[in-house]
C-alpha cells in the first residue's frame, strides 16, 4: 500500500464505508451536480471530497468521486484500488483516479490510429516522430487531463447525479479550469484564419480556372477545429453555471493556506467559476481537553514511528509545534536554534 498523503483530516483515521443514515439536510454547498474540491496541498481536500461524496451517496444520490490529483490518495483513504474507470465502492458510490500520464498516452495513441488511416505510409514515421515529441512537451499531460475531464462532464458522467472532483493543489487546478477560456480563444483565432484561407483559396480557383487543383467542399481542418472549440465552449458553460457547479475550497486555519485561498478565490471569480463554500478543516475543539491532546499525541507517535521507519536512512530533525506562528526575523532565529535537535 502506498504511504498515505494528503489526508489532512486524520482524526478518525479510516472513513466509514457504509453510511446508512445521515442526520439533517444536505449542506447547501453540496446542492450542485459538479463539485470541485480544491486547496493547498495537505489541507485535507481528498478526505473532505471523499467524505462529501459518501455523504451524497448515503442520501441516495448516484455519486461519482473523481480524483485528478497526481498524488492519488483517494484510493488510499478509501482503502480500495482505483483506476481510470469508475469503480463501485458502496451503494450509489463510485470512485476513480485519473492519471495525466496515462491519459496523455491514450490520447496520443488515438491520434496515431486516426493518422495511420489517412496518411501516405512514407510520411507515417515522420508524423509519429512528431507526435512523440508533442507527447513529452510541456502542457501535454495537462491537455490530456482536461480532455478526459470534459469527457467525464459530458458523456461518461451521464449516469451520475453528482460528480465530485478531488483536484490537484490549487495552482494546477486553477490553470486547468482556465484552460477552456484560453484555449477557445486561441482555437477561435485559428478558425478565423482557416476561414480566410478557404475564402482566398476559392478566389484563387475562380481566377485561375482549371489550372488550380480543385479542393473538396468541406474542409476537414476547419471541421476538427470547430469541434474542438465547441467542446471547450461546453466545458466552459458547465464550469461557470452556478446552478450546476460549485468550487469548494478546503483550507486549514493557518497563514499560508488562508493567503493562497484568498488569491485562488479571486482567480476563480475572474474566470466566472462559482465558489460554493470554504471548508475550514482541522479546527480545534472549543476547549481542548487534555484527553484530546493525549489522543492527538498518540496519533502523532504512530506517524513519527513511520517516519523513522521509511526515512530513517537520513538525519531526522523534529521541530516542535509552536504556540504562535513564527513570523519575523526574531521568531525565525529562535526557531533556527531548535533545528539542531536530532532524534
Amino acid at each position: 500500500m502506498a504511504p498515505p498523503h494528503g489526508d489532512g483530516a486524520s482524526a478518525g483515521g479510516r472513513l466509514p464505508l457504509l453510511l446508512d443514515h445521515l442526520p439533517g439536510d444536505l449542506p447547501d454547498f453540496l446542492d450542485r451536480r459538479l463539485l470541485f474540491f480544491g486547496g493547498k496541498g495537505g489541507v485535507g481536500k481528498t478526505t473532505l471530497a471523499a467524505a462529501s461524496a459518501l455523504g451524497l451517496a448515503a442520501r441516495r444520490q448516484r455519486t461519482l468521486l473523481v480524483s485528478t490529483d497526481p498524488a492519488h490518495s483517494t484510493g488510499d483513504i478509501l482503502q480500495v484500488q482505483l483506476g481510470s474507470e469508475p469503480r463501485a465502492v458502496v451503494a450509489d458510490f463510485w470512485a476513480m483516479e485519473i492519471d495525466p500520464a496515462v491519459e496523455a498516452d491514450r490520447y496520443i495513441e488515438s491520434v496515431k490510429r486516426r493518422i495511420s488511416e489517412s496518411v501516405a505510409p512514407r510520411l507515417l514515421d515522420e508524423i509519429e516522430r512528431q507526435i512523440d515529441i508533442a507527447r513529452v512537451s510541456p502542457g501535454a499531460e495537462e491537455a490530456a487531463l482536461f480532455e478526459r475531464f470534459t469527457k467525464i462532464i459530458e458523456q461518461e458522467g451521464e449516469g451520475f447525479e453528482r460528480i465530485v472532483f478531488d483536484t490537484a493543489p490549487t495552482g494546477q487546478t486553477l490553470r486547468l479550469l482556465s484552460l477552456p477560456e484560453l484555449m477557445s480563444t486561441w482555437i477561435g483565432g485559428l478558425i478565423s484564419r482557416r476561414k480566410k484561407v478557404t475564402a482566398m483559396g476559392r478566389m484563387w480557383r475562380n481566377v485561375a480556372g482549371s489550372s488550380a487543383t480543385e479542393a473538396s467542399e468541406e474542409d476537414p481542418v476547419l471541421r476538427a477545429l470547430e469541434e474542438r472549440r465547441a467542446r471547450f465552449h461546453r466545458a466552459r458553460e458547465a464550469l461557470t453555471d452556478a446552478r450546476m457547479t460549485a468550487f469548494v475550497f478546503v483550507l486549514v486555519p493557518e497563514r499560508l493556506p488562508i493567503w493562497e485561498t484568498e488569491k485562488a478565490v479571486g482567480a476563480l471569480s475572474k474566470y466566472g467559476i462559482p465558489v460554493g463554500a470554504v471548508l475550514v478543516n482541522q479546527v480545534l475543539p472549543a476547549t481542548p481537553t487534555e484527553e484530546f491532546l493525549v489522543r492527538r499525541k498518540e496519533r502523532e507517535a504512530e506517524h513519527l514511528a513511520r517516519i523513522e521507519r521509511v526515512l530513517g536512512d537520513w538525519p531526522i530533525v523534529r521541530v516542535p509545534l509552536l504556540e504562535r506562528d513564527p513570523v519575523g526575523v526574531d521568531a525565525l532565529q529562535a526557531l533556527a536554534a531548535r533545528l539542531a535537535t536530532r532524534v
Binding site: L123, E126, Q130, A134, S137, A140, G201
Partner: protein, 92 residues
C-alpha cells in the same frame, strides 16, 4: 479567304492573351500570393512548435497533422528553408 479568317482568329487570340497578360495575370498572382500568405499564417499559428516557438494548443493541433502534412513541404520552402526545419517533419 481562308487565310484571312485564320489571321483574324490569330489576332483575336493574341488580343485576348495580351489582355490576360496585362490585366488578369497580375491580379491572379496577387490573389495567389495572398492565398499562400494566409495559408502560411495559419501554419505559423497552428504549428509554431515545429519552428521551436511554443504553441499553447500544440496538443490539440496534433490531430490536424494528417490533413496538412502535404502542405508542410511547400511551406518550409516558401519560408526560405531549403530543408525541413530542425524539430519538424523531415519531409525532405
Amino acid at each position: 479567304m481562308q487565310g484571312w479568317l485564320e489571321r483574324l482568329r490569330r489576332a483575336l487570340r493574341a488580343a485576348r492573351d495580351i489582355y490576360e497578360g496585362v490585366y488578369i495575370a497580375p491580379y491572379r498572382s496577387t490573389i495567389h500570393r495572398e492565398y499562400l500568405r494566409q495559408r502560411d499564417l495559419f501554419f505559423l499559428l497552428g504549428f509554431s512548435d515545429l519552428l521551436g516557438v511554443p504553441n499553447p494548443v500544440q496538443f490539440y493541433t496534433l490531430e490536424l497533422y494528417p490533413e496538412l502534412i502535404e502542405q508542410f513541404h511547400e511551406w518550409h520552402l516558401r519560408m526560405g528553408m531549403e530543408q525541413a526545419p530542425e524539430g519538424g517533419f523531415r519531409c525532405c
